[in-house]
Structure formats: C-alpha cells, structure tokens
Symmetry: C2
Subunit: 347 residues, 2 copies
C-alpha cells in the first residue's frame, strides 16, 4: 500500500449534476439547506449524481494510553477494556445508535492493555497500550505504519463487503489527551487550545492534562511536516488505525463520517499524510472539546450537529447518519416539478 | 372542549428519576449533551421515567392564503393544491422523510382554495382559502375556533390510535406571511423583524411582504392579549388547525414536535391560549426565517438542528425525529455501570 499516493479528485462534474438534480426537485431551491450541499459532496465522492442511501459501518477502534498514568482522566484505565465487554454485549450507547441508524458495528482492539477474547472483536493489537509519551514516543514509528496499514486494509475489506460509508468511533481512557497532543503538534497549537474536559475532568485535572501534553511535546519534538512521526510520538494505537481507515476508504470512493475530537484528530493526521483526503470526509458533529473546532476548521468541514455530545464510540456519527441517509434519499427519490406537475418559482 | 383549561404540570418527580437514570448509564455523566435533557423533558411530558421511543405521526396541514394576492411568494398560489397531489403520490420531501423516520404521515386540507378529492387527505376545510387580511380579517373568529377544535379533536384521535408524538407540518403558499403577521401581533414585534425570504423571495418581494404584514396589522389591530382573535384576523386555516393539535395533544401527554417558522407560530398562538403548553413541545430545528428565532426564544425552546432548512411540510421535524427516538432508546436500553461491571468516575 502506498500511503501517500495522490488521490483522484472528487468529481466536479458529478457534483454539478447533483446540484442540478436538487434544483429540479419539488421544493424551493436551496430549501433543504445544508443537506443539499451534503448530498452534492457525497455524490462527488461516490462519483455518481444519485448515490442513494449508503450501506454504512461504524468502525469503533479501542486502545489504551500511557497518558492515563499521568492522571488525565476521570475514569480508571481499566474502563477501556470494560467498555469493550459492554460493546460485545450490545448495550453501550453505540450499539443502540448503530442499530437504530441501520449501521453495521465493528469493534476493533487496536491496542488495549489486556485483550478481550471474543469473536465479535477484531484483534489488531498494535501493542498492549501505548507508552507514556511524556518520557518518550508513545509507539515506534513502525507501529504507527502498521496501524495505518491495518486500518487501510480493514477499510478495503469493508468496501469489498459493500460498505460505502465508514463512520469512525473511538474508545480509550486517555485518548483525548493523545488527540490533544497530536493536534497541538499538527495544527500546530498550544496545549491550552487543544485540551478540554474529555470525560468531564475538573480544573485541576485539566491543568494536569495541559501540562502532560506540553511534556509529551517537549519529550518528542514532533515535526508538523512529519504527520506519521507525530502520530507515533504523541498519538495512540486507535488513532493510527482510524487514520488508516481514512486512507483506505478514500481511493475506494467510500465516505468517511467522523465522530468527535478523537476521530477528527486521526482524520487530520490522515489528511496531512494524504493531502486532499478531507474532501472525502463528512463531519457529524462538533463536540465541546476546544480542539475539535480547530480540527474541523483546519479540515474545512462543517458539522451537521452541535448538541454538546462528548461520548465518543462513534455515537455522534451514528446520530448524524440518518441525516446523511435522508439527504441522499431525498436527492434520489423526490419528484421533480415536471414529474409532479408542480409550478416552479416565477422567473 | 375547554380550550383554555389549565394543564396538569409536567412531572418534575419523573424528570428527576430520568435524570438519575442517565447518570447510571455507562458513559461519562452529561456526555450525551442535549439529548439527555431532551429525554428528561419527554419523560416529564409522558409521566414516565422510561418512555422509550414513541409512536410518531406527522400532521401536515395545508391551507391557502388571501395574502398570496399581494404577491408575497416566489410561487403561484396553485402550488398549494399541486403539492397536496404530490403528497398523496408519496414523492414529496416529507413522504420520504416520514418513511425513513418511521412516522405515519397524515395530510390535512385545513382550507385549500380548491380541494383535492383523495381518500388519503383528511378534509377539514375551514374555508376555501383565507380572505386577504390587508383589508379585513383573514377569517371569522368562529372559523378560528372551529380550526382549533378540529385540530384538538384530531390530536385526540391520533393519541387514541396510539400515537404519542405528533410532529407538525405545514403547506400553503403565503403562509410565512401569515406566520409573520401572527408573530408580529403576538410577540409583539415589528414586521421587519418577523418577515423573511420564505420560499426564496427577492428584496423587492420581501419589502412587499413587510408592507403586507404592516397593512394586515393596521387593518385588523390584533390584540396581543387575544391570541384567538389574532389567529383569526391575520393567521391562516392551517395555523389554526395546528394550534389546535398542540392544544389537543397536551392534556393527553403527547409530545408535540415543531417544524419551522409556520408551525412555531401556530405553537406560539396555542401557548398563549393555554399558558405552559410550551413545556410539552420540542423544537426540531431553527430555520433562517428571522421570526423563527424570536418564536423559539419566546417559547423557551432550543432547536436540535440548525441546518438552514426552510422547506416546511414537517421536513425539519421528520429529520430531527431520529434524534428524539435515539435519545429515548438510549435512556431506555443502555446498560448501567452496575449491570455492565464498568467502573464509574473516580470520586
């Protein structure tokens, strides 16, 4: 796999056709607001003016983080693995939301400290949790390469099974710290601007989180021009895997639906590795994490929802998925003025 | 039917139970953001801490408007009836969205100029289009009373059939002018603040629309303290009917899901007739109509979506419905920390 290979451009001609199709539908022009632009973007990604609703999968990647040892989360590190068990039992938020949205959920262990042996979990396991990045790299550069490759291969496999929309999800105690460090390195930005309250930490813990990110950056000196190196140095296993999913989805014309800050940071890394990749992405929501708005702005993506969601797991992506599918169904199924015998606007 | 009867309060004890239930679920507290508050509100309306997803109907009421003669729309008045035909053929936006959201769609002719004889259309027909309110009342006070009663009875019928969530939709060339006049009368506000571009009118038409509203207010002098009188004087048949649906839904613990500016204006009239009614309402989205933000603020409702939707038909309500149902499904189905053996946040 050639990770940095140039992408074919999204199809501007197809976008124009989709735009024209909207304008013939029985509704005032532009009256479906951002859903019209969304469907046009997806048409361009898919290379067809009428993509219709897409077969969707949620790729939920989990990993543990050396950052957790710094006391940056409100939850103990054991929760990552406990939540994997919750996912396979089908009663976590993402199980319910994926079911309701008609999306297939796949749970990936990208590098949890202690594995869960269950057939429903895809074992990628780049390692048993990352190292503490405040004293050296979170993982070796080769591990990040393996993560990208594994994610890209998995995307290829899902596309081969007929999935055309891959929604990203994450689980990992400490992973908003990894995302904050990665964004601080790649944007670049100050740790204060990228760190937020994650699972709901207090002021003292937030100060510790900012300091942790600052120390990780100082210990590793990640280079903005080397996104793969930054991913290895201060990122995380699930971040590398999710970035790989972005890289693998794009050349196969699959739409990548982002969740919140963690998946957004992985997407940012992917877009730095393969410039232009963001044209294949849809932002589901904006989380209250301050770094998320920075990432979305950098990627030029406008989120569909702004509901204060900060759960992760792909929950925001699954919640936005019906909007995406509805936009595509409307573009596909609505009658035209001509078909319906409805008078168009007065010229 | 006693239209102005006092409502039983929404159930604060139930709200507390629902709040506590959220806090036991396997997720950081508050991490589902506004969806948590939404489910708590609905629990209070339904009077049960675990209402679960609700059987939903979209009530799409259509009417014609004397205002149309003033040239306030980009579309000819004939479009109201043409769209009724589009609805019964199943290929308008709301047909597709209601199907996708799992909602039953009922189309009501509340007073279209020329009726469509079709079994799928509920014939209420308060009149054959309202009179031009710039020269006198849009309808007689008795017509507005009949509209409220018909809407309330219809809500009662739907609740009797098991529907617990009534989403409101509207269709009627000229009805954003009626809504603008009604809001200007009830808030009160200047016509400039309540008039917007509706179906997409140009500056000249917008100026004419503002002037039309101003003339309607001058011709009728609606009294802010007489919402029924204002509804009759400057409103519309579908507005009266939809206000009636709000009034009929509330005492039966049904949730009213608003669409955009027109349904919001009807809801405002209903809430003025029956103070406190807004506690039973959910705002699906905020439209670009400037009056809509004023109405939502006055009702104290925070919209779920902000996507520049301005189609009407109940389209925004149907698009937001999966968010509502998902919030209720999460509250109902998610595992608790205890059930899942997941460690809670460190105290």
């Amino acid at each position: 796999m050639e990770l940095g290979a140039a992408l074919p451009g999204v199809d501007a001609l197809v976008a124009r056709s989709a735009r024209a199709a909207w304008d013939g539908k029985t509704k005032p022009r532009g009256s479906l607001g951002e859903l019209e632009a969304l469907a046009v973007r997806i048409a361009a990604i898919r290379g067809t003016a009428d993509p219709g609703p897409l077969r969707a999968a949620v790729v939920l990647a989990a990993g543990d983080h050396g950052y957790a040892a710094e006391g940056v989360s409100a939850y103990p590190a054991a929760v990552t693995r406990q939540m994997l068990l919750n996912f396979v039992r089908g009663r976590a938020a993402i199980n319910i939301l994926a079911r309701r949205a008609g999306a297939h959920l796949v749970v990936v262990d990208a590098g949890v400290a202690e594995p869960v042996d269950h057939p429903a979990i895809r074992q990628v396991r780049l390692g048993a949790g990352t190292a503490n990045a405040t004293v050296g790299p979170a993982m070796a550069r080769e591990d990040a390469v393996r993560g990208l490759a594994a994610g890209a291969e998995f995307a290829e496999e899902l596309v081969g099974e007929g999935f055309a929309l891959l929604a990203l999800g994450d689980m990992g105690i400490g992973n908003t710290t990894a995302a904050s460090a990665l964004c601080a390195a790649l944007l670049p930005a100050e740790p204060e601007a990228t760190c937020g309250r994650g699972t709901g930490i207090d002021d003292l813990t937030l100060a510790r989180k900012v300091e942790t990110v600052r120390r990780a950056l100082a210990a590793n000196s990640p280079d903005r021009g080397d996104p793969l190196g930054a991913l290895a140095a201060v990122g995380g296993y699930e971040l590398a895997f999710l970035a790989g999913v972005c890289l693998g989805a794009a050349p196969r014309s699959a739409v990548v639906l982002l969740d919140g800050f963690v998946t957004g940071s992985a997407a940012l890394a992917a877009a730095r590795i393969s410039p232009g990749l963001q044209a294949r992405m849809v932002a589901s929501h904006r989380s209250p994490e301050p770094g998320h708005a920075l990432v979305l702005a950098e990627l030029g993506l406008r989120p569909l929802l702004d509901l204060g969601l900060r759960l992760g797991e792909g929950s925001g992506a699954a919640l936005a998925l019906p909007l995406v599918q509805s936009a595509l169904a409307l573009l596909s199924e609505m009658a035209t003025f001509e078909e319906a015998g409805v008078s168009d606007a007065r010229a």
